[in-house]
Symmetry: C2
């Protein structure tokens, strides 16, 4: 894929951060790699955040994505969970930002709509469509499937913008 770009999708969490890299050439998508980063649970917060950050840096060094995409965080009534997620999300986002990659943000509804056609889709439907659109991805775990989903969403959003600009 000479004109293909590689997109890193991130699904951050303080315990597990999913990541996935897809290659997009127009409407053609291909799976490149995916995985899950487990942060050391017993470590102080600063070390857990550093572990997430460094692991995402290593993914970027290994798979050389051109752009990154991440889900917008859903603000819940549980402020403590929201805060933890905010920390993990920042630690993950800083890695592509430090590497000079643009980082796009998508609401969960937008990701679901891009993959399944409706913002009300459940996780199982999203994972099903990820497996269908990226048949060589195997059966990624939920965290990695969500990360691949946001990368796919970014690919289709880029394409829609490019078509819009050309029209």
């Amino acid at each position: 894929m000479p004109n293909a770009i590689r997109i890193l999708g991130l699904d951050p969490g303080l315990r597990r951060t999913g990541w996935g890299v897809v290659s997009a050439d127009g409407s053609r998508l291909a799976h490149v790699a995916h995985g899950v980063i487990a942060a050391p649970e017993a470590a102080p917060l600063s070390e857990r955040l550093l572990a997430i950050h460094q692991a995402v840096c290593a993914v970027i060094a290994r798979w050389a994505p051109d752009e990154a995409a991440i889900e917008e965080t859903f603000v819940t009534a549980n402020g403590s969970s929201t805060l933890k997620l905010g920390h993990a999300r920042a630690a993950a986002m800083l890695a592509p930002a430090a590497a000079g990659l643009p980082v796009a943000e998508y609401a969960a509804k937008v990701v679901k709509k891009a993959l399944v056609g409706t913002g009300a889709a459940d996780k199982g439907q999203v994972a099903f469509m990820v497996a269908r659109l990226l048949p060589t991805s195997g059966a990624p775990t939920a965290d990695a499937a969500d990360a691949l989903a946001v990368a796919i969403c970014h690919a289709s959003s880029r394409r829609a913008r490019a078509l819009g600009a050309a029209a």
Copy 2:
């Protein structure tokens, strides 16, 4: 101060992040430096976080602290504000963590109690005590005074632990 250690205090925010470095030798405290980092407000979130992170890295490179301290975030009813603060806090914390410094966390009440003697002290009282304990600090702005306050709190907490261990 041959046995003095330098402590970096951080008061993070997505718009302004206060920082302060104090030197502590037993109960003797000295002001080293302080300042406020203003993140570019119009930039995408990832770039704002990177600006905070890189500025704290530059402070560490310039002032060579041995340890860092940061306030625990107060979870408010406004989930969106909590989330933003969590992002800024993680971006700031990652800098000392990446430099291999331990990062201590203190609840706001604990910082106030250490400075003023009561956890119910207001910001003005904290700033007054910072100016009194660090007479060469001039009149730091509120963000920098809060950062110096958490550094002073860490100095007194370290000393209390050292005295406890020696007893």
